[in-house]
């Protein structure tokens, strides 16, 4: 497994060369195994797609490197992906016009109705590739190739919390209000991040996600 230093306080493990749903889940499972035995000078273990980054106190670099070698030697990897069961989430999304400022533009470009687009979007099962950008922001893999859309040339100064967007080949949900450059095609009423809970993010790397279209009144009634 290739290891790359990320400065003096982190090391990145490259667990696979190709990003697949299985490889993402296997990397997450390995990150879970490693983090079970963390000494205090290891601060974070983070899976991002197929890379795992281990962050540590820079003044304990030697100890961290030695610990990581041991942790990897005793970890079961590659993990048999059939033995790890990913969580599956159903996320309600309302595609009403005011929530989906970029839906029609994508529909026009693809040459289909926005209804077809919503149906296509909801027909896929997505895999959480990474969490980042914002607390709880999930980068989802598995978008139908016809829906791939370049990011906006000018990012919006304000994207509302819950907005569901398409950025390149990925889709994602803004957990909180933020500037953003993804094409917004809907909004979920389901909170994606809550700092008062542990874990604070609803989704984890390797999890599966389905989007369920809901009406405006279902959105307004959602609790």
């Amino acid at each position: 497994m290739r290891k790359t230093p990320i400065g003096d306080s982190a090391i990145q493990l490259h667990t696979a060369d190709i990003v697949t749903d299985e490889a993402v889940l296997a990397a997450r499972a390995l990150a879970d195994q490693i983090s079970r035995s963390c000494p205090p000078f290891v601060r974070d273990v983070v899976a991002v797609y197929v890379d795992i980054t281990v962050y540590f106190d820079a003044s304990e670099r030697e100890a961290a490197v030695a610990w990581l070698e041991n942790a990897l030697a005793s970890a079961a990897f590659p993990t048999d992906s059939t033995s790890i069961e990913p969580s599956t989430h159903s996320i309600p999304v309302c595609h009403r016009e005011s929530f989906a400022p970029d839906l029609q533009a994508i529909a026009n470009r693809v040459g289909r109705s926005s209804g077809d687009l919503i149906e296509l979007f909801a027909s896929r099962v997505y895999t959480v590739g990474a969490i980042g950008f914002l607390p709880g922001f999930a980068y989802l893999l598995g978008l139908d190739a016809s829906l791939h859309s370049p990011r906006l040339a000018e990012p919006r100064p304000r994207v509302r919390a819950g907005s569901v967007g398409i950025g390149g080949s990925q889709t994602g949900i803004y957990p909180s209000e933020s500037p953003g450059g993804w094409n917004i095609i809907g909004r979920t009423p389901m909170p994606m991040f809550d700092a008062t809970r542990t874990p604070s993010a609803r989704l984890r790397c390797g999890d599966r996600v389905r989007f369920k279209p809901i009406t405006s009144s279902e959105f307004d009634r959602w609790k």
């Binding site: 400065g7 974070d44 899976a47 962050y55 003044s59 969490i131 607390p135 980068y139």
Partner: protein, 306 residues
Amino acid sequence: MTIIQPGMLTSVQDTGRYGHRCDGVPTGGAVDAVSMQLANLAVGNPAAVAGLECTLVGPRVRFSQDALIAVAGATVQGIEPLRPILVRAGKPVSLEKLSRGCRSYLAVAGGIDVPTVLGSRSTALRSGFGGFQGRPLRRGDVLPIGTPPPNPPRNCRIDARCFGAGLPSIRITSAHEHVELATQFCEATYTISHQSDRMGLRLTGGRDLPQPEAIQLSRAVAPGTIQRPPGGEPIVLLADAQTVGGYAVIGHVIAADLHHLAQLRPRDTIRFSLITLDEAAVAAKNQRSLLRTIALGMSAAQRRRI
């Protein structure tokens, strides 16, 4: 503690939020964590408790009971740095005029006793949680102060010169086995842009650098990571930076020099120098020993009631 005037950007910060990067939560905390820790030690607090981070123009505050305070980081006009100062109840304290640096840290004996969120009292300003109501302080805010340590220090002063203020350059390690890009990066002098904040320092003066290879999917980054957006100027990530980034990376500022970045003001100029990971580890160890030595000295002084 009551905020009479909030200053430009004053927030509750401690030494950061760890263990939640897997949920996309930045580490946050004091951008100059060394100064935050030194200010705490000067009032007899454990190094990691919460204080105030003040930016460019600090606040004016008042305490409802006598309080022991200390400041560190950028120079605060009228307050001797790193010395415990007893402030009488009701008497306003001004941290408004900051010079020689960008951020000052105010520690109060007992610490700022806001609730812990995800293991830290730091304010996550971008996401709006932690600290005091998840936001910068405003006029009229009243912050709870914790129980002061027994036998607080009185007549002592910490010397912070050993932390190397006024370094000729900020030390970095290369992001790649091939060091050409990082070497070239270190040849230029950069100016800090006005668009810098707690998430990152934007540098100007690096336009002629070769463009590193673009990356396909976002990768983990860390405070200190030097990013190069396509066609743009370099950005050095700071405490509030997002946990993953999609830009090409030139190198990483070493952990022991992050606190110097925190003190750079817009229009300041800066140079970088390339060192090895082994050299960076020595610098990190030295910094930790200095902080530990000061902490031991302070607790010995408290036992003797200096």
